[in-house]
Symmetry: none
Subunit: 407 residues, 2 copies
């Protein structure tokens, strides 16, 4: 029997008798190196509340996709949400468009975009146009938005932060995916968008985007350094089963960044309003408790400090989460999982393949007799090392949502 079918057949009909909470400290996993005395941020951070939780929890480590594979945030989170990231692919443009609040349709093609600088020969000299401010971004997006339509296709332009924006091409028989126009380096020309498949809708989309470029470039001619733009992650809404349908859990996302809000929306989670800080995120959980069974709470800071190579910064974010934790525990979740979507080691300044630690706490999680939520403690936990896609199954089991299999 296929795994998904088996799990589905065992799902008991009742709602959980408490809340399931997935607390994601993005990129929290790290590696111990000589440079930091062989200690990781989780090991250095003072975390009395997490320590207390750890003593009553099961622990382990998770492989986001497959051994050795470093995931982007999309695959990393899809795994946590119980979707095999090797089977469900989502283009970044789609995630970003959802995240900025565009209600994508099946005949849309969405792209992440950023303003860039090109020289007289059309060669990219700055991929971020000197990180222009959001005010200029607004003006430029209005110019591009004025194009409005390419043939039968509507063009929607939505500004983001700094040099970033999103473009959605709507209708007229188009489909993704398409390769990036971003050459991913300076000294190279903006790449023409060429369909990689012979599918008619994809070729049509490539034509539409080429025409959009031709109309847009003259509009930006005077706006040096933001005199061009790059498109990335161009794609259409994937066919992906909804979270509530798949797991029979009403789910809410408490996440500030568009990417994670978009991911949650993609699988039908309700996104709550953006919170100011971790404490407020936890208070949103308290406030919205009645309406949902499952809460995805996303903390970005750990990943950002990891990417910046900022060991102390990562420690600080972990400690801030720890200090706010009692708020969450005021109405203690029935099942609480604390983990990352992947590791972002300070030494690498990037996402990595190293399995991230996970802590699972419930009245029936058992305790592994470990004193802290760290990588080395997690190595010795009862959950072992497993693929992230199974985490939700463990959470559901801990919530008493599965029948016994067989007699």
């Amino acid at each position: 029997m296929e795994e998904e079918t088996l799990y589905r057949s065992l799902r008991l009909p009742h709602r959980p008798e408490g809340k399931l909470v997935l607390l994601v400290l993005d990129g929290v996993g790290d590696i111990a190196t000589a440079a930091t005395g062989y200690r990781t941020p989780l090991e250095v951070a003072a975390t009395p509340n997490l320590d207390e939780l750890a003593r009553a929890s099961a622990m382990g480590r998770m492989i986001p996709v497959l051994p050795g594979i470093t995931p982007g945030s999309g695959p990393g989170h899809l795994g946590l949400f119980g979707y095999d990231p090797a089977l469900f692919r989502v283009d970044r443009g789609v995630i970003e468009a959802l995240g900025v609040g565009i209600d994508l349709r099946t005949d849309d093609v969405a792209a992440r975009a950023n303003f860039c600088t090109v020289n007289a020969e059309g060669v990219v000299t700055d991929r971020r146009a000197g990180r222009i401010d959001s005010g200029l971004n607004r003006t430029l997006c209005q110019k591009l938005g004025s194009i409005g339509r390419i043939g039968e296709t509507e063009v929607i332009v939505r500004r983001g932060r700094s040099h970033r924006f999103v473009v959605v091409f709507r209708g007229g028989g188009i489909a993704g995916p398409l390769p990036d126009s971003d050459p991913h380096g300076t000294g190279l020309p903006v790449r023409p968008i060429v369909a990689q498949s012979r599918e008619r809708k994809v070729r049509k989309a490539a034509e539409v985007i080429a025409r959009f470029y031709r109309q847009a470039m003259p509009l930006l001619a005077e706006d040096y350094p933001a005199n061009s733009f790059l498109l990335r992650g161009i794609g259409s809404l994937p066919r992906i089963p909804g979270f509530e349908e798949r797991f029979r859990l009403r789910a809410a996302a408490i996440a500030a960044y568009p990417m994670y809000r978009g991911l949650a929306q993609l699988i039908g989670m309700r996104t709550l309003k953006e919170a100011r800080d971790i404490g407020q995120q936890f208070r949103q959980y308290l406030d919205e408790l009645e309406g949902f069974d499952y809460f995805f709470i996303h903390v970005k800071g750990t990943d950002m400090s990891g990417e910046d190579g900022d060991f102390d910064g990562k420690v600080t974010v972990i400690e801030a989460v720890d200090q706010a934790l009692p708020i969450l525990l005021q109405k203690r979740p029935l099942v609480l999982a604390v983990t990352g979507d992947h590791s972002t080691p300070v030494a690498l300044k990037s996402h990595s393949w190293h399995p991230q630690p996970v802590l699972l706490n419930s009245p029936v999680s058992g305790s592994d007799g470990l004193s802290r939520f760290t990588e080395t403690c997690a190595n010795r936990g009862s959950l072992g090392i497993f693929q992230s896609k199974y985490l939700i199954r463990l959470m559901m089991a801990n919530a008493g949502l599965f029948a016994k299999f067989g007699a």
Copy 2:
């Protein structure tokens, strides 16, 4: 997406910026029993150099094929080289023929052979013919080689050590696999070779080998105790993708025994000349550094002592590797994996299914804070327990050879 396709799609085009080294201590894994005070050879051995390496490494244990399955050397090594041993089957005759330097072709059928003793009734009384010396072996192989041809099929006979030799049947529309003529016990007759499939080429091969036996037996009639011979592992070259094509790594094998040289050649690794001892093997690595990206270094002694039930012998081999290790580290590999192809516990005197310990060291491996390369330390490592076929993916990830998956 299929795993292999996913990994392939993420392989970055560049060569690694250092060397990947797989150091195989054949059968190094062991089990702790009361008879040896619950200590394994790795635990008893004095290994200051491996200890130092361990402190800066990630560790874990590997399942060669599937839980409970004891692999032969072929499947054991195919796993280490990144080929699922359940999918890629290689007959032992093929490996041995390659190992003794026969350049096998697709229309060859190869067999391991050894001289044996049969009585007047054709019953095997000694499966190794009293382990005759290599001089007599040479003479007997010349006799068999004089047969030269069976119909359209060329017969190539190549002597090995002691009572062992290899026979290759070439051309004439033949193919393997065929069952052994070896009854795998004394008191039984030499088995007639009978095709297990209806395939024409396989049936033809069985006929050719039967005719070979009829012509060969009279030639050996006077050579008691070596008056017959047994064939094993009869097969043809499998379709197996080359290592360089599969992983885009130029690979060299530093191995003394024909079996391991044959395995390496099968997947297109270059085999370097046979070295005298472990120190010389490591010096070959230093000498040949420029030409390759990946080195497979094979140490046989650990397995041999395990098979002999020689605990102290196994300790001695491990200590010899440890003492020679600084030679290898003179030009430190970017990624170094130390492991076995399986366990060969002294208490079992045979290969076993017990997961073998593995140590993975690179600038980005991280450290698990463990002090020694032993079974019990490995149990607590960040790599967990995983199938051997993933080791090369972890080595490649540590060498920075994979792009991020998804955005």
